[in-house]
């Protein structure tokens, strides 16, 4: 028989994580959470989550980093803001879930089958290069770098989009593209300078 510890100890907590979450944008008020559960009740995805938004709020502010960053909820959240607008303590739950997602990506803890790094990369390369997204090209690029089978699975849809003129192949571009590059470079430089 395999025995598993189910309670948590003080020592499992990560104080750095608590500091980080309460200083992140939107996290200022996490201490005020009442654990009322309205966020979970309003969340259309909570039925599929391992830790509902209410539980995530509590686990995060107590520093249970492993549970939080390993939670499926981060990936299920669609940023629909239902939780946030109903929170009686005006806690920006949606933004906190964003912050957790970013942290999980930083620590490379995303589910294998998600094409997140590929998506993000293709997306930002396209914005840097053209300043705008041409959906048709983005889709092709992402699919070429992930799984070809999915492209087949979607091909019925792709054809429909082409047939109805909703997949124009003409590339959308900003005229003054140098401005976009400068803008992006400046953000990177300031971020480095201020370590934010």
């Amino acid at each position: 028989m395999e025995l598993k510890r189910t309670i948590k100890f003080e020592a499992d907590r990560d104080p750095e994580f608590v500091r980080w979450i309460s200083h992140t944008v939107g996290g200022e008020r996490i201490r005020h959470c009442l654990q009322c559960g309205l966020c979970s009740g309003k969340c259309p995805l909570s039925l599929y989550m391992d830790y509902t938004p209410r539980r995530l709020m509590h686990l995060s502010r107590e520093g249970f980093k492993e549970e939080v960053l390993g939670s499926s909820s981060i990936w299920l959240c669609t940023a629909c803001y239902a939780c946030m607008v109903h929170c009686p303590k005006s806690i920006n739950v949606t933004h906190l879930l964003y912050a957790l997602k970013q942290r999980a990506i930083e620590e490379k803890r995303y589910p294998r089958r998600f094409a997140i790094p590929v998506m993000a990369r293709q997306f930002s390369d396209m914005v840097r290069g053209s300043g705008r997204i041409t959906e048709s090209w983005l889709i092709v690029k992402v699919f070429l770098r992930t799984s070809i089978w999915r492209l087949f699975g979607m091909s019925g849809l792709g054809l429909k989009l082409l047939r109805t003129g909703r997949m124009p192949l003409k590339r959308e571009r900003v005229q003054r593209r140098a401005e976009i590059e400068k803008l992006l470079d400046s953000v990177a430089a300031t971020r480095k300078e201020l370590a934010i």
Binding site: T78, F114, A120, S124, V127, R166, R176, S186, L194
Partner: protein, 291 residues
């Protein structure tokens, strides 16, 4: 007053029908718009989740460009509307973000003064034009066509000030002014799953199915949307969602397509041919004599 117009990337791709019909409606209602000079992608969702600061900087270039000649921006895409609004809020609330954005804009000779207001076309049509003015210009009444108005999440939450966050009614008021009827649709602001269909298909399909079947159960002949991604999700995956649950076949249009049609715009200029679930049989059944 002339509004600045921010189409965003989707309205040049999968959401073309939205732009075609909205601009047609604006023309027929004498709402003057001017596309923001050399606008760039607002960096919505995908960027937001991995690199927020960059998305604020990208969005702020559009705000700054618009501010030079205009005091209000119309942003039809729900994601753009949210990101532009969010950027304004966060620049106000967080000095670090403000600093990053201002420095970045400085390198390209732009300045953001927080003088421009971001508005959704529903807001402009309802509050600046008004349902009475619209009703007076209707040429093709919608003959009681039964509509489930689907708002999705991002235009009413969290920043919108023009309508209720859980039970908005702008779309109802607009479309009823055109002679349509709206059905009860309690899921009108429940999220369709966004890009969940791509990442976790089972979950995405469930959410899409609830929205479709509830509309159908309540007698809707068409669902109207205000967001290219909502429109795409609801119309493209009906068969797949039906395989998991029960089949539905509800046409999904942009509210602006029905508005433009009612104002007399010819059907082939407002993207009706771009839908996957045919709408013309519904119009025929309702004896809507469109141009």
């Amino acid at each position: 007053m002339k509004y600045a117009y921010y189409p965003g990337c989707s309205l040049r791709g999968t959401g073309r029908a939205y732009e075609e019909s909205l601009l047609a409606a604006f023309r027929l209602l004498d709402v003057e718009v001017e596309e923001i000079d050399d606008w760039n992608c607002c960096g919505a969702t995908t960027y937001m989740s991995v690199d927020e600061l960059t998305s604020y900087a990208l969005a702020s270039r559009n705000l700054a460009l618009a501010e030079r000649d205009h005091s209000e921006i119309i942003a039809p895409c729900a994601a753009c509307y949210l990101v532009l609004n969010k950027t304004q809020h966060y620049i106000r609330d967080y000095p670090d973000i403000k600093l990053v954005v201002n420095r970045a804009l400085d390198t390209i000779g732009l300045k953001y003064r927080d003088k421009v207001k971001v508005r959704h076309p529903l807001d402009v049509l309802l509050n600046d034009v008004g349902p009475e003015a619209i009703a007076a210009k209707v040429k093709v009444p919608l003959n009681g066509l039964k509509i489930a108005p689907y708002y999705g999440c991002q235009i009413v939450r969290p920043y919108s000030t023009f309508d209720d966050q859980g039970d908005p009614t702008s779309m109802e008021r607009l479309l009823e002014a055109c002679g349509a009827k709206t059905v009860r649709y309690p899921l009108k602001t429940t999220c369709c799953g966004g890009s969940q269909k791509g990442t976790l298909p089972e979950v995405g399909l469930d959410l899409i199915h609830y929205l479709l079947s509830e509309a159908q159960k309540n007698g809707a002949e068409v669902i109207t949307t205000v967001c290219p991604l909502c429109q795409f999700n609801l119309e493209s995956f009906q068969k797949e969602a039906g395989e998991r649950h029960r089949q539905t076949a509800v046409p999904v249009l942009y509210f602006s397509q029905l508005l433009a049609l009612a104002l007399g715009a010819p059907a082939d200029t407002i993207g009706l041919q771009r839908g996957f679930v045919p709408i013309r049989p519904v119009f025929a059944k309702k004896e809507i004599a469109y141009a």
